[in-house]
């Protein structure tokens, strides 16, 4: 009799385990489904007009005579904005992380950290709105431009949005540097600042680089800010004061008006595939780096 209840308990245990395993497997399923359904909707472009149509410097999806689905202006748009944002993100993100983890007092940290966490939670559409009504006009008058909606405005806001990611991962990396390094450096007579820049930061560098890569992944995948403030002209340019159109903004702006199943529709899914592969690659490399240096369990 008692034995039966033990048996039942063990059976229940097994059932729960299977149930939980099933739940955990959904993540794999979703990743597979994302690749599958992006591919499914994009597939029609392969036969007609062919994948080579994507390799073109013009994106003119709506035209009666000469439709063009060249991804190059969209890719350069994303790259320009991302590199520019990275330029701002590195000093502000990394230095803030070093300051928070090595220099700031405990009470200072407890005031600064919640602000950074709040920043991480501000919806991107609000940041974009702020860019539209405050930062854009400011940039416009600063440079004497006809409009303040350009790559620079977008990059500044994107950098701000990615900074919480950079700070939190860099901080982890710095905290993982063995205390003995710091103690040895200080014992040899190095000052605190020398210790930070010549011992702690170099030791934490792989983690910091991974943090920057994950930040870049966030920037390149961000939609609303670029849709609202970069001007959205699809042209190949490297000038930060030009209007650019990124991959994300193109999908968001055009998917609403496109006919399902058309070439234009399939081309937009190809934009999504490129975006997915780029962020997937950045993430994969960053995770490798973090794992190699034992910063991820």
């Amino acid at each position: 009799m008692r034995f039966d209840s033990v048996k039942r308990k063990l059976l229940q245990d097994k059932a729960v385990r299977t149930l939980l395993l099933g739940a955990a497997s959904t993540s794999i399923l979703v990743v597979v489904l994302i690749f599958l359904f992006l591919g499914k909707e994009a597939a029609s472009l392969i036969s007609e007009p062919g994948l080579s149509a994507l390799w073109d410097s013009r994106w003119i999806p709506v035209s009666f005579q000469d439709q063009r689905f060249g991804l190059l202006p969209l890719i350069t748009g994303s790259v320009v904005v991302t590199l520019l944002a990275t330029l701002f993100m590195i000093p502000f993100g990394v230095v803030s992380a070093i300051y928070l983890s090595e220099i700031a007092s405990k009470s200072e940290r407890e005031i600064l950290k919640p602000f950074i966490e709040l920043l991480a939670g501000i919806p991107s559409v609000i940041i974009g709105f702020f860019g539209l009504v405050v930062l854009g006009p400011f940039i416009k008058s600063l440079f004497g431009l006809p409009t303040g909606l350009n790559a620079l405005t977008g990059a500044l806001l994107l950098a701000l949005m990615a900074i919480p990611t950079v700070i939190s991962i860099s901080e982890d990396a710095l905290r993982n540097v063995p205390l003995s390094y710091k103690e040895a450096s200080l014992a040899l007579g190095a000052s605190k600042i020398q210790t930070i820049w010549r011992v702690i930061v170099p030791a934490g560098l792989p983690g910091i680089i991974a943090a920057i890569m994950l930040g870049m992944g966030r920037v390149i995948g961000e939609t609303m800010v670029v849709l609202m403030v970069t001007g959205n002209a699809a042209m190949v340019t490297l000038n930060p004061l030009d209007s650019v159109r990124t991959m994300t903004a193109t999908i968001a702006a055009e998917m609403g008006e496109v006919a399902f199943g058309s070439d234009h529709y399939a081309a937009l899914f190809w934009v999504g595939i490129v975006l997915l592969l780029v962020t997937f690659g950045l993430n994969l490399i960053a995770q490798r780096v973090l794992r190699k240096y034992q910063m991820v369990s």
Binding site: Q12, L19, L20, L21, A23, A24, S25, T26, S27, I28, V30, V31, L33, I34, L38, E41, S96, I98, Y99, I103, A104, L112, F115, I116, L118, G121, I122, P123, S124, V125, I126, G128, F129, F130, L132, V133, I163, G189, S191, I193, Q194, G217, G221, E222, M224, M228, T248, I251, M255, G256, F260, G272, L275, L276, T279, L282, N283, L284, Q287, S297
Partner: protein, 290 residues
């Protein structure tokens, strides 16, 4: 002698660098503060009982934002209903059952990948799978499911962290007394981990409420001044409404107060979630010191 000279030379540099670093760190905080300040100060004048509880009129030029608020509430609630149990169950499996095998590594890789997928790509996925393949149409159901999978990694990662913070001894003691693994987890681990799990999940919920790109493709209605009657209806949503008012409205300068008002409501909603999470975490950290 030389040493003291050198260290004397070093000191002003140290101070300068230290102040430069402090300046950079504070400038980020000032930027955040300025954005919040701008939205709050210019938005607070638009907030009224009518604005919060009335339907929009004349294409969103007048009236309130009730349908957008309710739309966001429905979408977020839908996302929680799906993502919370799924995410917590995944976390329990990963923290309590999983061995260091190949399959576990695959699950972890999938979670990291999901966390990095751009929100607009989630939108494409939701459009392809829920809207078209399952034929839900652009609806609350399609939007909620898309948002749910988007916030799933956040919930899993933070829940697992909370579970791992529970000391091993609590598990070992229970197992040694002959309890099964599930008895151990449900009675000796979960009670201590749940507060932390919920805290982390709140952050994911805040993200779902504020996200625009996925709902752009799966649910959101441009202008729909009624409340939905079923999960297969379209709804308005706060972030999308703000986007429309700010960029697509024929007279964007005239509706600027409405834009600020909508932005403030969204900001308060999302920030309230985040503040609660941050404060809860501080409290639990003090309460459970293992």
């Amino acid at each position: 002698m030389r040493l003291t000279n050198q260290s004397k030379q070093r000191l002003p540099w140290d101070t300068i660098i230290r102040w430069c670093m402090r300046f950079i760190a504070y400038s980020v905080v000032v930027a955040v503060g300025y954005i919040l300040f701008d939205i709050v100060v210019k938005g607070v004048g638009s907030i009224s009982w009518e604005f919060l509880t009335d339907y929009p009129r004349k294409g969103g030029t007048e009236g309130g934002i009730l349908p957008a608020i309710m739309g966001t509430v429905y979408l977020t609630a839908g996302a929680i209903i799906v993502a919370l149990p799924l995410g917590m169950a995944s976390a329990i499996y990963l923290s309590e059952y999983a061995s260091q095998g190949r399959f576990t590594r695959m699950i972890r890789l999938a979670i990291v990948t999901l966390a990095g997928v751009p929100s607009i790509v989630f939108g494409l996925f939701g459009l392809g799978l829920f809207v078209l393949f399952f034929n839900f149409g652009t609806s609350i159901l399609a939007g909620s499911l898309t948002l749910a999978f988007m916030i799933l990694p956040t919930i899993i990662v933070s829940s697992e962290e909370a579970l791992r913070a529970v000391p091993r001894a609590l598990r070992e003691g229970s197992l040694a007394l002959g309890a099964t693994r599930w008895q151990t987890i449900s009675r000796n681990v979960l009670p201590y981990a749940l507060p932390g799990m919920f805290t982390g999940s709140i952050l994911g919920i805040g993200r779902a409420a504020g996200e625009t790109a996925p709902i752009l493709l799966t649910v959101a209605a441009f202008y729909l001044p009624i409340l939905p009657s079923s999960v297969f209806d379209q709804v308005m949503a706060l972030p999308y409404h703000l986007y429309i008012l700010a960029t697509q409205h024929p007279d964007t300068t005239k509706v600027l107060p409405l834009q600020y008002g909508t932005a403030l409501v969204l900001l308060v909603l999302v920030t309230a979630f985040n503040l609660v999470a941050i404060m809860l975490r501080m409290r639990f950290r003090k309460k459970y010191k293992w």
